[in-house]
Symmetry: C2
Subunit: 272 residues, 2 copies
Amino acid sequence: MTHNESPVHPLDQALALEPLDKGHWQGTTSQAYANMVGPFGGTTGATLLQGVLSHEELLGEPVSLTVNFAAPVGDGNFEVIARPVRTNRNSQHWWVELVQDGEVVTFATVVTARRRETWASTEADFPDVPPASDLPVASKEGRPAWTRNYDMRFVDGALLGEPDRDYPSRSRVWMQDQPSRPLDFLSLSALCDAFFPRIYIRRPKLVPIGTVSLTTYFHADGEQLASVGSDPVLGVARASRFGKGFFDQSAEVWSRGGELLATTHQVVYFKE
Amino acid sequence: MTHNESPVHPLDQALALEPLDKGHWQGTTSQAYANMVGPFGGTTGATLLQGVLSHEELLGEPVSLTVNFAAPVGDGNFEVIARPVRTNRNSQHWWVELVQDGEVVTFATVVTARRRETWASTEADFPDVPPASDLPVASKEGRPAWTRNYDMRFVDGALLGEPDRDYPSRSRVWMQDQPSRPLDFLSLSALCDAFFPRIYIRRPKLVPIGTVSLTTYFHADGEQLASVGSDPVLGVARASRFGKGFFDQSAEVWSRGGELLATTHQVVYFKE
């Protein structure tokens, strides 16, 4: 590295892949994004997306990403294998897997497409909330390592706080990479998993949890994401149902200017 | 068939799979569930789920289903191949594909799990709507064949009607199989794709559309679904964003008694 180069962002370090063969890479988990056990799921999902975005046969940009967390990811090396299952004229369907010790521990399906201008309309409501600059940065005390890579400022629904009477599982939170980093599909996909599990908002008690499947729809294209730069984005997350060992959660991610960048959904295992 | 046996329901005919080998079946598309082009996506997704539910290594019940519509499904025969990617003590992650002429045209990932009693809470609101019996059955005139297998009664947001001022892409609709059939995971997964594309509600104009990825989370277990029997279920569907050739839609499916049975999300291609 020369004096003119900026240091590699921790997220880009975490998502770095070393080519082994066509559609086949090696990576290593990052201590900077460690969770309670193993790595933060947002970086694991972004690593799988990285495999697709790095593939020489890639067509277009991500539209949809579904990550299945099949087994715990261990700290250390892993392989990523990406394969286009189907390539159409303007869209592509992908399978991508993260392998450790010969076993698939996480896998994803991805849809990419060439996007083009069409009629557009946003039906979800951009909430009326104070700007990030008016809110305190959430403390990382006692939180897992990965949270130190995000600046989070809660409008409401902070972790283990008093649940809101009307929206007991909802959080509204300004979020950005820390240190700051221009937004792209990789960082946005990780941010979509940075919402704390809704059960910790709804019921302020720590129980074992784990996301089993996470789906993100990208409404913005790469150019729109680039125009957000390193501004904070607003996340609005809520659950609809807890029961029989699982709950769901859904979230919107908005630009400061009120553009809906992504919507994201997940189903999460919980104990008790 | 003897006189005592009831005829096979059209949905069960459409989803019938003939075993070829372990985790490998043959099926045939059903004219009863024909769409504008090829079969109704709800039955295609249910066929993939059928592959998982018929597999001799199945553990537990469906929690999550993501179907990717990679290419058009042609009328006629197809093969279904299901494979457990990972089997844990209480959960299992599946890959399942639908193959025609040696090409994967649709594929799905499924999470199944042994569910158990835990703390439970429903945060989504069961809407205050008139019962199905107070509403007229929606006409099937000019609609594709598959709609004739559903009794649909719209509270609001009917196809190509006047959009609601406050919720222009929302529909609330009572739905049930026609002829009636006890609810199970297969029929519920198909119902989750029976919502008309939100763009036809929001903007009453027919343009080419196609779902690219559909995710359903099952909140109910098999016993709860069985207790719904052949009652109508209430669907509430809406979109959050249309733009750059794609829109998303999300829906809840409720029992008449106010139990949230499933939540479902999809991203849909549209032209213009």
